[in-house]
């Protein structure tokens, strides 16, 4: 698996901001927009925010195709919202909600595209620290997240292997033949990994 994920390398201001600041900014923006939603100011602020977020994409070197691809899966939803809210007699509400959704998704995308996965995971680990008295161990949070990234190719390989095993016996790769052995294999793999972790003193 590509450990870069959705991150797009770059040197813009947004790229250089710490992950926590960006998340906080996103939270603040969405909160303000939702709070302004029923006010007259919202009618200006929401489209302005959406437009500003859209413009930020080319400005940070992300181009315009990425935001459009983010919005594409929203279109059917936007259509349903617009239709329904208009039918109930409030076309302005329809417009507001649609723009709010667009602004929020575009702003969130900005954070995702300009933040390294590792920076975000480090942030999660730091955020987990105050939970220590409740029994959460931040080092283990980080360990499990990394273990998962490492396990994805292994799980994918296990599926492929079981399909091949079926093919080798002249059987079609029916899911009901392969799923249970694959999952049992995964459990055994996890047990071996657990043993290796214990042996290396990382438990």
């Amino acid at each position: 698996m590509n450990v870069l994920g959705l991150f797009v390398p770059g040197r813009s201001v947004l790229h250089r901001l710490p992950a926590g600041a960006k998340l906080l900014g996103l939270l603040a923006l969405v909160t303000v927009l939702v709070a302004l939603d029923d006010h007259r100011a919202g009618l200006i602020a929401t489209p302005a925010a959406a437009l500003a977020c859209l413009c930020a994409y080319p400005a940070t070197g992300l181009g315009l195709r990425r935001p459009l691809r983010l919005l594409l899966p929203l279109l059917p939803f936007l259509a349903v919202i617009a239709l329904f809210q208009t039918l109930t007699g409030d076309p302005w509400a329809a417009l507001r909600v649609c723009l709010l959704l667009v602004a929020a998704v575009l702003a969130a995308g900005l954070v995702t595209f300009t933040t390294r996965v590792s920076a975000m995971l480090d942030l999660f680990e730091r955020l987990a620290r105050p939970l220590a008295p409740a029994g959460v161990r931040p080092d283990r949070v980080a360990l499990v997240l990394a273990l998962t990234v490492r396990s994805v190719p292994m799980v994918a390989a296990a599926w492929q292997e079981s399909r091949d095993a079926c093919a080798a016996r002249g059987l079609p790769a029916w899911p009901h033949l392969t799923v249970v052995p694959v999952i049992v294999g995964m459990i055994r793999t996890a047990e071996a990994m657990g043993e290796a972790m214990t042996a290396r003193g990382v438990d």
Binding site: M1, G5, L6, F7, V30, P73, L74, P76, F77, V80, I81, F84, A93, V97, L101, A104, V105, A108, G109, V111, T112, F113, T115, R116, V117, M120, L121, F124, A134, G135, V136, R137, R140, V141, V144, L145, L147, T148, V149, S151, V152, V155, A156, W159, V179, I183, V184, M186, I187, R188, T189, A190, E191, M193, G194, E195, M197, T198, V202, D203
Partner: protein, 209 residues
């Protein structure tokens, strides 16, 4: 597994094996997003909810819920683990974000019910539990969330039911069948370190991860 059901035996915390099981099932969830995604309308149908039901049905409440949380954390961090290569923060903010959070509640409900109601995993019990947790609990979070955007709970419920329900029922059946087979083939021991206590007490375990 073969432990005597004595009241005084409890399991505390999480062992290295438990951490690995959490990670591997989170990875399974990620793998399930890939080959089978069928993008239908606004809400893509995938096998991921199958994973959401399987993890707690096989691993129990603690490890099952943690594996869902782990998967969601990696998604949130920007890995493209959702159907269609989506990931990052925006799927959580969008109209179907509530379903993602609902997965956590659903896994918890399935895990707790499985542990408390079934001493041995059975298909029919598992199926009913999957419906309660994997459909009921998930919709309970997902539908009101969609309703925030749609402005109407009824419509959101209708869309949720219409689009997700047939597939989810099928997945509830599949998950119960698979979990029953896995429990028969290779039962996973309970999470945590075995602690033998002087006297039995029902103090709840703390999640550790």
């Amino acid at each position: 597994m073969a432990e005597s059901p004595a009241q005084a035996v409890r399991y505390r915390g999480l062992t290295a094996r438990d951490l690995a099981l959490v990670a591997v099932f989170a990875a399974l969830l990620a793998a399930l997003s890939m080959p089978f995604a069928i993008p239908v309308g606004p809400v893509p149908i995938t096998l991921q909810t199958l994973g959401v039901m399987l993890a707690p049905a096989i691993l129990g409440a603690k490890r099952g819920t943690l594996s869902i949380l782990t998967f969601l954390a990696l998604t949130l961090a920007g890995l493209p683990l959702l159907p269609g290569g989506r990931g990052g923060i925006e799927p959580f903010l969008g109209p179907t974000g509530g379903y993602l959070l609902g997965w956590v509640v659903g896994a918890l409900v399935i895990g707790v019910l499985t542990q408390t109601l079934m001493r041995r995993y059975r298909f029919w019990g598992g199926f009913l539990i999957n419906i309660v947790g994997g459909i009921g609990a998930i919709y309970l979070v997902g539908v009101p969330w969609s309703a925030l955007y749609l402005g109407d709970t009824l419509l959101a419920g209708f869309i949720g039911a219409g689009v997700f329900l047939p597939g989810d029922l099928l997945k509830a059946v599949l998950a119960a069948a698979i979990a029953a087979a896995v429990h028969r083939a290779y039962p996973v021991p309970p999470a945590g370190r075995r602690v033998v206590k002087e006297q039995p007490d029902a103090e709840s375990e703390r999640p550790r991860a």
